[in-house]
Symmetry: C2
Subunit: 335 residues, 2 copies
Amino acid sequence: MRYTIKDIAKITGYSVATISRALSGKDGVSEEKRKEILRIIDQLGYIPNQSARRLRSKETKNILVMIPDIENYFFNKLIKGIEKEAREKGYNIILGDFSDSQEIEEEYYRMMKGQIADGILIVGSLSEPQRIVEISRQFPMVVISDYFSDELVTVCVDNFKAAYDATMFLYKCGYRRIAKITGKIGAMLSQDRLKGYKMALENLGLNCDEKYIKYGDFKYESGYKLAKELLSAKSYPDAIFCSNDEMAIGACDAAKELGFSIPDELGVMGFDDIELSSMVTPKITTVHQPRYEMGRLAAQLLINILTGKEVSKGKYILDASIVPRDSTRNANITK
Amino acid sequence: MRYTIKDIAKITGYSVATISRALSGKDGVSEEKRKEILRIIDQLGYIPNQSARRLRSKETKNILVMIPDIENYFFNKLIKGIEKEAREKGYNIILGDFSDSQEIEEEYYRMMKGQIADGILIVGSLSEPQRIVEISRQFPMVVISDYFSDELVTVCVDNFKAAYDATMFLYKCGYRRIAKITGKIGAMLSQDRLKGYKMALENLGLNCDEKYIKYGDFKYESGYKLAKELLSAKSYPDAIFCSNDEMAIGACDAAKELGFSIPDELGVMGFDDIELSSMVTPKITTVHQPRYEMGRLAAQLLINILTGKEVSKGKYILDASIVPRDSTRNANITK
DNA sequence: TTGAAAGCGCTAACAC
DNA sequence: GTGTTAGCGCTTTCAA
């Protein structure tokens, strides 16, 4: 038997309104009555029906979290941060994994019209920026990603700066012929990471040879393949800066196959600091993104929007940091 | 502006009831009217309010998926399978990641009383079997795990048989002093995998030395540490069968550090076939669990229960298979 | 085949 | 401070 608020009213002898007030924490009930009512409710194990609440109050207390592919190691920690923040604030997460299918992604946005959630947290998307902005005009939204519109609330790291710093780091390790394998170049963050790399080279007075820039797609295979290309050329690089860890791992495997010793003959730098990067051999030197914190902050911002708090649009930038591991020489020893 | 069914009624000129019927697919409307109505609805982009539907029909069309820790690589593919099946059948997934906290796990079960979902899919749990059975009496439930009660609907592989086969495989590869690192021994599946191992040794006429059995906890560190113990003993094994891949990777790292060459001097076998196992060096020979299929099947069973179809309790067993990779010798060459 | 209307369980406006 | 009641948007029973 599941109780309704009417049952509780009957049992306690108060009206449904009083029960509702006691439950909501709003005032309109004397403190002692509230205590008494809550005690009985607790005893009975009564939990208000969410659908009724939602119907009445126009709130679902759900957040739709859009994820391109939950199998992608990058997203785990983000979700974790989102989950924690959401749960603590009384929200549940509806998992919007769309398996890298734009069609499924749209399906979820359509569902939003049926009020399955109060807001959307976009952890990743295949849609054009324009489309995202469009949806953000229909539903409360926070985006974790690079920044592509003043109209959005965005959580991200400064990809340009992080890439700049990473390139500088490789230089400090003694590498001079630094190549780059980019991510999908359509993504703003790929461009930012590329720009940061270029700017660093420029400031270092190293000339930026276009042959040293290869265009990948964030996948292991592209890192592997493009590293082979780079290392098979007659003027091969002595370091490769990959725009994510998976490609960096691919690059390492390619280098190993070609007989390059890492980190002496070749330095490899990744980006993201997924867990995997410290589980492979060699452990990958990389740029750490505070994904858990990014998730929490994004959820916090969204919930603030949902609860009517003032949230200014624009970028919310968290710090990235370099994690030296075994795929680069020690920056201190070599200068 | 968001439409309600009343708006649609007004616009089309039909009654609310007719709209509802057209939408639900049940009969009571003439085919042409239905078509007309659906066309208009589609044009307008009307989607019925889920909360109202739920309140009325006592269905949430949500499935609560309980996951100990989404960062654990084992669960990704399972969720994927669940998501696919659920979405296709019109269900959404509420993510019940409880971060290995039994308290949070219970919090989610409590939420169920507020009808946040129609049923529970337990991908993993920290609760006693008894508690799971208790909850399964309150809510529709399917469990992905080893089997611990006739009262539950359970999806799993035959861990005993898989471990038996894996041990046999090691033998066929020419290994004779086969050690075992178990998972958390409280878990039924750890016991089954241990039993399968023992049975294989017995049938092979190899004596099962208790010194060759180490009790781990599924973590990389325990694989690493226990492998070191095994390999430092005076009569060290020539193969280690770990009860999951993470421990197998730990064992490989330990072996490498001690100067053992894999797979010649030492064979290592894992279990699960997480993606990681083919990304490390050496690639781990392991027992493949069809996780995607397990997820789909489990979701299917749960939805069948929810839609009133007959689902018999008990085990639903999928096949595991051995994936030979680089951490064992070739079974064909050595005999 | 179609429409009117009750009512799911709750919140909040209103009355006392 | 407390109770009465309308009504959120839908499904479904009942009547036509």
